[in-house]
C-alpha cells in the first residue's frame, strides 16, 4: 500500500483525468470492486470539475482511513474559490452545479458513503467524502 496521503492539483481540465486516475488506482489497491471504482472516479470527476469551473484552482487529496473493522478511501476537494453561497440549494436534486451536465453535489453524496461540506462566501470550499470497502 502506498503512503496514506497524496494529492492532485487541479488547474486545467486535463487534471480532472489525473485526479480520476489517482482515485481509481487507490481504490483498486484498497480492494474496491469495479463498480465502486467507477463510482469513486465519477465522484472525483464531479468534485474536480467543480473546482476547475468555479474556483479555477484547488486540490484533490486522497487519504486511506479506517480502523480494525473497516477501511475506506477519503477524498478531500478543497479550493479558495468564491464559495457556495446557498449550500442547501446546492444539495438539492435538480439544482446541478455543472451547467446541467453534472450530477452535482447530490450525485457525489450518492456515489460515496459519507459526505461533508464546508463553505464560506468568498473563502472557498472544502468537501470531504468517504467510501468504505464492502466486506
Amino acid at each position: 500500500m502506498s503512503k496514506t496521503q497524496s494529492n492532485v492539483q487541479i488547474k486545467k481540465e486535463w487534471d480532472i483525468v489525473g485526479a480520476r486516475q489517482m482515485g481509481r488506482e487507490k481504490a483498486k489497491e484498497l480492494g474496491f470492486g469495479t463498480v465502486d471504482q467507477a463510482r469513486i472516479a465519477t465522484a472525483i470527476s464531479e468534485l474536480a470539475r467543480n473546482i476547475y469551473l468555479y474556483a479555477e484552482t484547488g486540490t484533490i487529496t486522497y487519504e486511506i482511513v479506517g480502523d480494525l473493522n473497516k477501511i475506506g478511501l477519503k477524498i478531500i476537494a478543497s479550493d479558495d474559490g468564491p464559495g457556495i453561497s446557498d449550500i442547501s440549494s446546492a444539495m438539492e436534486d435538480g439544482f446541478s452545479t455543472s451547467g446541467g451536465l453534472g450530477a452535482g453535489l447530490p450525485g457525489v453524496k450518492r456515489l460515496m458513503d459519507n459526505f461533508d461540506i464546508e463553505s464560506e462566501d468568498g473563502k472557498g470550499t472544502t468537501i470531504t467524502a468517504i467510501k468504505w470497502v464492502r466486506n
Binding site: 463498480v35 467507477a38 450518492r110
Partner: protein, 334 residues
C-alpha cells in the same frame, strides 16, 4: 417458471440458457429478473457488473477486448445509476407531497362546505365537483332571520393550491359580513376590495351573488364577470340568459356593480353555474349552449337536487369521466 429470488447466479443461469437456445422464455425471465432487481433497488450499472461477472464465469477465456469494452459500458452507466437513485428519492418526495395535498383538499372540503337551507316554497339543488383534487369553484348559501336566502357562486381562474387558498379567503370574507347587510351589489363591492388587496393580479375571481326574498319571490343579484346563468320561465316554457355586467373581482379597487332583479313565479327555475358546465368539451369541440339547455330541460322536472346530479352525470359521461374544469351547478325552483 415460478418466482425466483434476485441473485447473480440466477442471472448467469438465465444468460447461459439464452446463449444456448436463444428462446423467448429466457427473455421473458430476463424481464422478470430486471423488475425484481428494480424492486431490490439495484442500479443499472450493477446489472452491467453482474453481466460481466456472469460472462467471465461462463467464458474464463473471454477475449480481453470484450472484457475491456464491457468496463467501458459500465462506466457510461454510472450517470444513469445516479438518475435512477434520484428517481427513487423523487418518487418518495412526490408521494409525501401528494398526501399533503390530499389532506389539504379534505380540509378545504370541510372549510368550504355549506349547508343547503330549507326555504319554504323554494326547491334548491346544488352540486360542485373539482376537476382535480382541489376545487377552484365555490358556492355558499346563507339565510337571515326573515328567511331570505343569500346565494354565492364563484370560480377562481387558476387551479390547484393557490386557487384553493383564494377560495378560503372568499369564504371567510363572506362569513365576516354582517348578516343584515346582504345586498348583492354591496357584497361584491366589498369582496372586490378584499381580493384586490390580498391577491396577486394574475389571479381572477368571478362571482355571482343573489339574494332571494322569501316573501316577495324577488331575486336580486349582481355579477362580477361570472358565467351567466339561465332563467326558465314556466309560463313561456322558455329559457332566458341571465344578463348582467360587472368586472371580475380584484382588477381595480373601486369597481362598482350594477344590481338586477327577477320576479320569480310558480315553477320558474333559476339556473346558476360555472364555466365548467357551459364550456364542457367533448373531444376537440366545445358543447353548444343549446345542448346544455336541452340536457337541463331533460332533467328539470325532477326534484332540484336529483336534477342537478343527473345533469352532472350526463356531462361526466360525455367527457369520458375526465372533467377539464371544476363543475358547479345550482337550481332554484319556485
Amino acid at each position: 417458471m415460478g418466482p425466483f429470488r434476485f441473485n447473480s447466479d440466477n442471472y448467469r443461469k438465465l444468460l447461459e440458457r439464452y446463449i444456448a437456445t436463444e428462446d423467448e422464455s429466457s427473455l421473458y425471465q430476463a424481464e422478470q429478473f430486471s423488475k425484481l432487481s428494480m424492486q431490490n433497488n439495484i442500479s443499472p450499472e450493477e446489472i452491467i457488473n453482474i453481466h460481466i461477472q456472469s460472462l467471465k464465469e461462463l467464458y474464463p477465456d473471454l477475449p480481453k477486448e470484450i472484457d475491456s469494452s464491457l468496463n467501458f459500458l459500465l462506466e457510461t452507466m454510472i450517470s444513469y445509476g445516479l438518475a435512477y437513485q434520484e428517481f427513487q428519492t423523487l418518487r418518495e418526495k412526490q408521494g409525501k407531497l401528494e398526501s399533503e395535498i390530499s389532506v389539504a383538499a379534505n380540509m378545504q372540503q370541510t372549510l368550504l362546505s355549506t349547508h343547503k337551507p330549507e326555504i319554504v316554497g323554494l326547491d334548491i339543488g346544488a352540486i360542485s365537483v373539482p376537476a382535480n383534487i382541489m376545487n377552484g369553484d365555490y358556492y355558499h348559501f346563507v339565510t337571515d332571520e326573515n328567511g331570505n336566502l343569500g346565494i354565492a357562486i364563484a370560480d377562481v381562474i387558476g387551479k390547484g393550491i393557490p386557487a384553493a387558498l383564494a377560495m378560503s379567503m372568499i369564504k371567510y370574507s363572506l362569513d365576516s359580513f354582517p348578516e343584515t347587510q346582504r345586498n348583492p351589489r354591496v357584497i361584491l363591492e366589498n369582496l372586490n376590495r378584499v381580493v384586490e388587496r390580498n391577491v396577486d393580479t394574475s389571479m381572477f375571481i368571478t362571482m355571482f351573488y343573489g339574494l332571494f326574498h322569501a316573501e316577495s319571490n324577488l331575486l336580486q343579484f349582481a355579477s362580477a364577470g361570472h358565467e351567466p346563468g339561465f332563467y326558465y320561465s314556466a309560463k313561456k316554457d322558455e329559457f332566458f340568459e341571465i344578463k348582467t355586467n360587472g368586472l371580475v373581482l380584484g382588477v381595480t379597487n373601486d369597481t362598482t356593480y350594477e344590481q338586477f332583479d327577477i320576479q320569480m313565479e310558480k315553477d320558474d327555475i333559476v339556473i346558476l353555474l360555472t364555466d365548467g358546465v357551459t364550456e364542457c368539451r367533448v373531444g376537440e369541440r366545445f358543447i353548444e349552449p343549446d345542448e346544455v339547455l336541452q340536457v337541463i330541460r331533460n332533467y328539470m322536472h325532477l326534484p332540484a337536487q336529483e336534477a342537478v346530479e343527473r345533469v352532472y352525470r350526463h356531462f361526466e359521461k360525455l367527457q369520458d369521466f375526465q372533467l377539464r374544469d371544476d363543475f358547479t351547478l345550482i337550481f332554484l325552483k319556485k
